[in-house]
């Protein structure tokens, strides 16, 4: 049964893309499809970053060690949706207009942080293989703690983009904070106490 988890999760992670394609074929991407695709792929990048970050606290709470095996795949899906997001911007939105892209990166804070987050994801994706983990040793952990910076920048990117309604970026920030708090030794202790009393 556990052998099925990974392919199932892999398929589930592709669902957002399938939905996007389905809506695209059925002309349901609003009157401004490029904007819609940009926002949609951006949303899912952040969702997958948060899902990836929820694995460790989930493991701690549930005691099910095996779920850690899904973390790399989930992280790579964050990178996958991040690539789609960036490519949508680069190709569909700006259509290779390098001047406009550079202006955006330099002049518009929300693009500056979003672009930084995307660039920082690249080394994490590259070093996600077993070989690289072995080669980097203890440095691997240090490098991959960049995911916290990347997620923070991604949410900031969203927060700085919206005109007035900050409900969604604020909710994402709260979830992110919660996931960080769950990593504190204190939170682990809470779980341990619960666990030992129930035993």
């Amino acid at each position: 049964m556990q052998k099925l988890y990974k392919p199932l999760l892999f398929s589930a992670a592709l669902l957002p893309l399938a939905v996007l394609i389905y809506n695209g074929i059925n002309d349901k991407l609003t009157a401004n499809p490029i904007e819609y695709i940009t926002h949609y792929t951006g949303d899912w990048t952040i969702y997958f970053l948060l899902i990836t970050l929820s694995i460790t606290p989930l493991r701690n709470l549930s005691g099910k060690i095996f779920i850690v095996r899904f973390r790399r795949m989930l992280g790579l899906f964050a990178f996958f949706y991040g690539c789609l997001h960036f490519l949508t911007y680069f190709v569909l939105d700006q259509f290779f207009d390098f001047d406009a892209i550079i202006e955006d990166i330099v002049d518009r804070p929300y693009v500056t942080v979003g672009f930084t987050a995307f660039v920082l994801l690249i080394p994490l994706a590259i070093t996600s293989t077993k070989k690289m983990i072995a080669r980097l040793g203890s440095n691997w952990r240090r490098l991959h703690s960049l995911i916290y910076v990347i997620t923070a920048l991604g949410i900031l990117h969203y927060y700085w983009l919206v005109k007035a309604d900050i409900t969604v970026p604020l909710t994402l920030a709260l979830i992110f904070t919660f996931l960080l708090v769950m990593r504190l030794p204190m939170a682990k202790n809470v779980k341990n106490t619960l666990f030992s009393t129930s035993n």
Binding site: T30, D104, A164
Partner: protein
């Protein structure tokens, strides 16, 4: 004030009175400009809204913008920024069904000789409805071309006899949180406020619109009456107007309240002013793939640049 350059349309292209007085002929000419096709299909495309009523006796106007393809009716009525009904573009079409724009009256007050409350029918009756095809440029760097139906704002304002103290005109959207779900959260300070300098308000391009594509405005488009000022960013064109005040001092405006460094009182379309969120140099016309250059004053510089002579438009943004 005398406007010396009214339009870029040739007199020979203005439809004669005998033609525009006839509804049948209006439709016939519309087919030539691609309007009727969209009107005909609009019944199927509209969702969640009652079919809009047709407007009669619409006159063509020399102030209409020519040489632009019209944005299709479905896009105009499903892709809206109208935060009173939610902050997503699809929200106004989805969540404006509870809003009841009839009956409607507008309160006019302030620096004028004939203040008072006036019903919408009485407000419109003395005037001839005109079709005004205008570009609409949103600050979010997208644009449309919309065949509005409306009345010159100046013609209406004059009836209330503004005094010499009327330096500005302030507008207010209705506040009805029961019918406007977006007003239940404090995304902006409600009610939505806008304002124009009196000479901007009296400019012949400024209109109060009651329809588009020959039909009454749907709720998501600002029913039953809204402002349209085509050389300014879209948010200046305040919707569902319930109050007009002649005032001496520059009035508060909703987006300026929200982020003063981003949204100035004037908010003239200006590709030269850098904006922290969207480059204003280019825009995507809805329905097109490649972006196009944004024009100063949204392409209406010939008609309106004289309003701002000697002003620093980067400072007075």
């Amino acid at each position: 004030m005398l406007i010396t350059k009214p339009s870029d349309i040739k007199p020979s292209e203005i439809t004669s009175k005998s033609v525009y007085l006839s509804r049948r002929n209006f439709l016939k000419t519309s087919i030539n400009t691609g309007i009727a096709g969209s009107v005909a299909s609009s019944g199927i495309l509209m969702s969640g809204n009652a079919q809009a009523a047709k407007l009669d006796n619409i006159q063509k106007s020399p102030y209409s913008t020519i040489g632009e393809d019209l944005t299709d009716y479905d896009s105009i009525t499903t892709y809206n920024n109208f935060y009173e009904f939610g902050t997503n573009k699809e929200d106004p079409a989805k969540y404006s069904g509870q809003f009841n724009p009839k009956p409607w009256s507008i309160q006019v007050d302030g620096e004028c000789n004939k203040p008072g409350e006036i019903g919408l029918e009485d407000l419109i009756k003395p005037h001839t409805l005109e079709e005004r095809i205008y570009r609409l440029r949103c600050v979010e760097a997208w644009s449309m071309v919309i065949p509005w139906v409306g009345i010159p704002l100046g013609d209406i304002l004059k009836r209330f006899e503004p005094t010499a103290n009327a330096k500005y005109v302030a507008f207010s959207t209705i506040f009805r949180p029961d019918e406007m779900p977006g007003q239940r959260s404090r995304v902006l300070r409600w009610p939505y406020l806008e304002g124009l300098r009196i000479d901007e308000a009296m400019h012949p391009l400024s209109i109060l619109s009651v329809g588009l594509y020959g039909e009454e405005l749907l709720n998501q488009s600002g029913a039953p009456i809204r402002l349209v000022v085509p050389w300014k960013y879209g948010y200046k064109s305040i919707k569902s107007i319930v109050k007009i005040s002649f005032v001496e001092k520059q009035p508060r405006t909703a987006w300026n309240d929200s982020a003063p460094n981003e949204y100035g009182f004037y908010s003239n379309v200006n590709p030269n002013r850098n904006h922290p969120r969207w480059s204003q140099k280019k825009e995507r016309r809805i329905g097109e793939f490649l972006k196009r250059e944004t024009l100063m004053f949204n392409g209406y510089a010939n008609q309106v640049a004289s309003l701002y002579e000697g002003m620093n438009l980067l400072k007075n943004h």
